[in-house]
Assembly symmetry: C2
Homo-oligomer: 389 residues x 2
DNA sequence: AACGTATCCGCAAACGTTACCGATACTTTT
DNA sequence: AAAAGTATCGGTAACGTTTGCGGATACGTT
């Protein structure tokens, strides 16, 4: 018969339904509910996962407490040289690897900086990453990178993941689609440092690292004008990005300064993509009265246009001047080299990283400048160097 | 006077040393040790860090237990629709973000795949990353990337960090310096899946994703030979990398097949770096009897050599044929386009990622093939297309 | 009534570390 | 020798989740 595990009574046991497919009993005497543990089903959940040696293992094997081990491993004070030595040796012997997860949980910090970039296809962001990586590694931080793939949705989900993983700070360059910034404001609210770079926006209270897009754009267009081009088109980026607006402003300013009239049908703001570049390029080159120069928002668009022009037999730079932006590696090598604006990509990364580190260290509100503007450089190559008229 | 906090005795209090620079007392009566809490130093560690709402907060505010909240949030069974609804609403209202760290700790998994690459400067690895990223994101995994910067030391410390962060799997492409593989064997021992790609090695039991380097190399050299080049030099990579050895083998095989004698002073194995490429290039081009073609281990080296040759007035492809490896973006645009081997970078990334996912899912030992070889493609451009003799 | 069943929820133990607060056992000073 | 100081160690509560195991209620069935 079945006996009550509590009062050892035998007579008062009654069935009392099922729990998880196991017969359940109740002892009417002591009102104790119970099920019979199935002896067949011994150790039902065995540790399949190999056990990683923990601090406790070390502690046990040399007969000290885990707090002692912890302190010894971290070179803390309050530990005698002998025990420290013993702990370190045992740790090495047992092949101990600290569990960062537990550490992170208790310290509420991860020593990890997150970075979200829209794309990897151009050389720009990889180079920024290299710069940031250098600084962060030096400071003992890890860098985890995500790619929003120019999609707002992905960007949002990326920030969520970053948040869930409790990164100590976020470096982000926005998607060309991004119009809503609530997902960034969450970081402010949580007090997690945030630095925007390159593709920045207003509407969010965070430091920004950019280049002097206005000046660069102005210089580029001025350069074209000084080389005798008159009817200069601008193939710009999406206007929700500050970069695009600044470059547009620079373009307009330069045109205005030199008294060139802007033909509005030759100012196009579009998305970044090869396909779009082809479409807009075709449009511009097929115009009744086509421009004699094009200032494009990036090198890949510029190159796309150059290739189309060459195909059509339009001579560069004589019949068409082209200037790009960013100085991709291929730009130096294409037909007549592509004149472009070189951005200090490594510097951007470094600056961004340094800034986030400062924000993390300084508990609250250092009054740093809201924005840092790095200098670009006009690289003149064949695509715009017209024999002076 | 000082009173004992326990027995309220006043007479029997004596000093009893210091703890952390604070005077310590003992009550001789009840043998109770204590320190005086400094009233000035009120709330010494105030919660500067903003409190993030936890599951417990939600539980309290709607009067259920935290286990109920947890189950509700995860769409578990055993929760009534009403409570689930209430929990979800409250979670949204309180702006709850799950703490992945705690989750990771209890589940012993992080849903994160680590990736270590030697460099970012060429387009190769970024493209691999794009491919891997796509697959992993789709499967709900995060990808965290580290850069070993072609340094063995950094690679080791990267693997340590990955280990500490308890990644679920590692994708790695080795440094050109890497000769010791103990840091990878740790992963085997721990049962953490590992996939090598591109820069792989023997000596470690893990799946490898590579391209058909031998065939590619053979094809490239054969192509040069068929274009009438006779004295073909090979600028290879460091021989501890399998890639380098395979490419060298392919080179030798092709030369042998067509009865070309190999002049051993024209076979150079060196490190990947622009500087080295320049040095070796100068050496080759300055040889008494210089080669009439060069097959280089990568495009940047090849381009470096092309530029040097052009500078010296050596005509490409007539006086010098050049073939590279990888098809960097700039290779299509340089002077006479650079003939090169296109690698399926995206595919490499995808394959690697798919493989690690399989390894994670299948508990132990699926007998997958040990190695996957992807196909490359010879891209013929101007640098090797000699007018047939 | 007495018993059986299904549904829903709570308790509490992990997960591995850190850090606060004491507690020993000595050594030194008075 | 008593009192005070020093150096070194331990106990244990967090950190925020998940989850196995039971408990409790409500309802259906003999």
């Amino acid at each position: 018969m079945i006996a009550c595990p509590k009062c050892a009574e035998v007579g008062a046991i009654m069935k009392a339904g099922y729990v998880r497919n196991k017969q359940r009993y109740v002892c009417k005497d002591c009102n104790y509910f119970f099920t019979l543990s199935d002896p067949d089903q011994i150790t039902p959940r065995k540790k399949t996962r190999r056990h990683q040696t923990t601090i406790i293992d070390i502690a046990k094997s040399i007969g000290v407490s885990n707090s002692t081990v912890s302190r010894a491993l971290h070179g803390h004070a309050d530990i005698s040289p002998e025990t420290r030595q013993a702990v370190l040796e045992m740790a090495a012997q047992m092949d101990y690897q600290p569990n960062q997860l537990a550490y992170n949980l208790v310290k509420s910090r991860t020593n990890t900086i997150g970075m979200i970039v829209p794309e990897f296809t151009n050389s720009f962001f990889p180079n920024v990453i290299i710069g940031a990586h250098e600084i962060l590694t030096e400071a003992g931080y890890n860098l985890t990178i995500m790619q929003s793939n120019e999609s707002y949705q992905v960007e949002v989900s990326n920030t969520r993941a970053m948040l869930a993983n409790r990164i100590d700070g976020l470096l982000i360059s926005l998607t060309q689609e991004t119009n809503n910034y609530d997902h960034l404001k969450v970081f402010e609210k949580r007090g997690i440092p945030l630095v925007l770079f390159n593709r920045v926006c207003d509407h969010v209270e965070a430091p920004k690292v950019v280049v002097n897009d206005f000046d660069a754009s102005f210089t580029a267009v001025e350069h074209l004008i000084l080389n005798g081009y008159e009817r200069i088109a601008h193939l710009g980026g999406p206007l929700n990005l500050l970069v695009s607006r600044e470059r547009l402003r620079g373009y307009r300013a330069a045109m205005e300064k030199y008294g060139k009239s802007i033909e509005e049908n030759m100012v196009i703001q579009g998305m970044f993509s090869q396909q779009k570049a082809r479409i807009y390029g075709k449009y511009l080159l097929d115009l009744e009265n086509r421009p004699d120069a094009i200032f494009a928002v990036n090198d890949s668009s510029a190159i796309e246009i150059m290739l189309m022009a060459l195909e059509k037999g339009i001579k560069i730079p004589d019949e068409l001047g082209v200037v790009g932006f960013s100085d991709n590696p291929e730009s130096a090598y294409i037909g007549p080299g592509l004149t472009t604006i070189r951005q200090p990509t490594g510097e951007i990364g470094k600056t961004t990283a340094q800034w986030i580190l400062q924000l993390i260290d300084s508990e609250e509100e250092v009054n740093l400048p809201k924005q840092k503007v790095l200098k670009t450089e006009l690289v003149v190559r064949g695509s715009s160097r017209r024999s002076q008229i």
